[in-house]
Symmetry: C2
Subunit: 290 residues, 2 copies
């Protein structure tokens, strides 16, 4: 009935009116939308005035006036940046935090209402994650993080859960050669998490060693972000980190049940090699010279 382009456009119309409804309810707090948006950007942790201006695509004159109006309401305070006195840093005051929380409550309420009015919660959330990841692909950043950070542990938990689902014999981390965290922290190695607007979408570990090769471990991409080339980006980032650390040979192990992973490795210059460890789970082994 509808061609793909029409379906995308139908989606656009539906969300446009939903977005408009949220804007309207923001107006209920008696402040123009522009000022409300700046206040919310600051509340969400954007303190650098230039950063906010870019994010909201505001003219510098307009931005300045919006800051002034928020200051007049005693909702924010601005100070000079410690390293560069030209730049200004904006922070919420107590009253500002209260007001920000009120906006948050409106947004949360709207989101909760949406979920409460639908029975297919999980399907809707999965669809929303997928679309948000697709729309935000170019803003997905790859950040080096400690493998013991919340974000990294979230990714690893999801990774293990997925292996348990996909391996016929299940998966128990303890039976696998679990790399120690310190081997995946500079200067020995690295751990990279793909973050999209606060949601971890994938990870990869580079495990340094004293042997003649280092290893890629724990490559995982969230279901909501598959098909967007994120696995490739993570691998590229891991290889880049390896080069920076002076690593010349990389190896990895995987299981033939993870077909996408095997395909990715073959397509990106990895060659299959014989088993090089006695981990019970993998049955496929690859190597790449940098």
């Amino acid at each position: 009935m509808l061609d793909p382009v029409s379906r995308v456009r139908r989606f656009n119309r539906a969300v446009t009116s939903a977005v408009g409804a949220l804007d309207t309810s923001f107006l209920g707090r008696g402040r123009p939308l522009g000022a409300a948006r700046v206040l919310n950007a600051i509340g969400h942790g954007r303190t650098d005035v230039g950063d906010i201006r870019d994010y909201l695509a505001l003219d510098s004159g307009l931005m300045s006036r919006l800051l002034r109006s928020l200051e007049d309401e005693s909702l924010i305070e601005t100070t000079a940046h410690a390293d560069d006195a030209r730049r200004r840093i904006a922070k919420l005051t107590h009253a500002g935090k209260r007001e920000f929380n009120a906006y948050e409550a409106i947004s949360n309420r709207q989101a909760k209402d949406f979920l409460d009015h639908h029975t297919q919660r999980e399907a809707l959330l999965a669809a929303m994650d997928l679309i948000a990841s697709a729309l935000g692909r170019d803003v997905t950043s790859l950040d080096e993080m400690d493998p013991r950070s919340d974000e990294a542990r979230y990714c690893l938990g999801e990774y293990y859960a997925e292996l348990a689902r996909r391996f016929k014999q299940g998966f128990d981390v303890k039976l696998s050669r679990d790399p120690e965290a310190k081997d995946m922290v500079r200067p020995r190695g690295s751990f990279i998490v793909a973050m999209s607007d606060g949601l971890p979408l994938g990870c990869v570990g580079l495990k340094g060693s004293n042997s003649e090769f280092s290893e890629i471990k724990r490559l995982w991409v969230a279901p909501a972000a598959r098909g967007l080339g994120l696995g490739r980006r993570l691998m590229d980032a891991a290889e880049k980190a390896a080069r920076e650390l002076g690593i010349a040979v990389l190896r990895l192990d995987t299981n033939s049940a993870l077909a996408e992973a095997g395909q990715l490795y073959r397509r990106t210059g990895w060659t299959e090699i014989p088993r090089f460890n006695d981990d019970p789970y993998p049955d496929l082994f690859f190597e790449k010279h940098l």
Copy 2:
């Protein structure tokens, strides 16, 4: 990592910026957004000025001025409504159609770019359909249509395809007791299609007869709209139509492979009865007195 409300809000942020980008590219045609929106509403077939005003939630004064500005550009012409000279009808001129097409091209291009940049087209489209249907639930209208209309035939095609997928023995319309179209048109019966912003999301047929009962046939809800209560709304509309036509007893047949349907019938006052026809596909039979 993220609770459901945060996931909805992440989605909101992602689509807000996407919607903003489209608005910005609309501005590229040198016309304020308000005027562009009115022009597009007319182009999409909304000719009644009051209807457009409601749709875009515009003040009547503002609306009037926007119409005037489009007339000054020779993009539209307005005439009085044939039956009610108070109401005005707006139509695109030649130049207006050209301009409308230019906006369409922008929207289509944006949608196409989005699809072209992602490999998971089908998954994305399915997610978009689901969300658009969920967001637009309250604007899904149930329209009585001829079962031979494009919309009805689309629904029936999808319905048969789904039966073929879900029945172990497949499904062949010719073997089933295909109700004749004229039995599902007033005054004998009715055929109702659920339309959401141009996309048919479901259907149901009320098949009149000369026997002591009439039948409900062809209840179908698009996968993108399941869990939104549409099946129930369709059934309610069919029963309402039956009452209007003076029908006292309704029957229907279904198959136990269609579990959702059976549940719906039981929950809405239908009682199971013995087989009342020799159609090879159904194995469950229901009746309801109105």
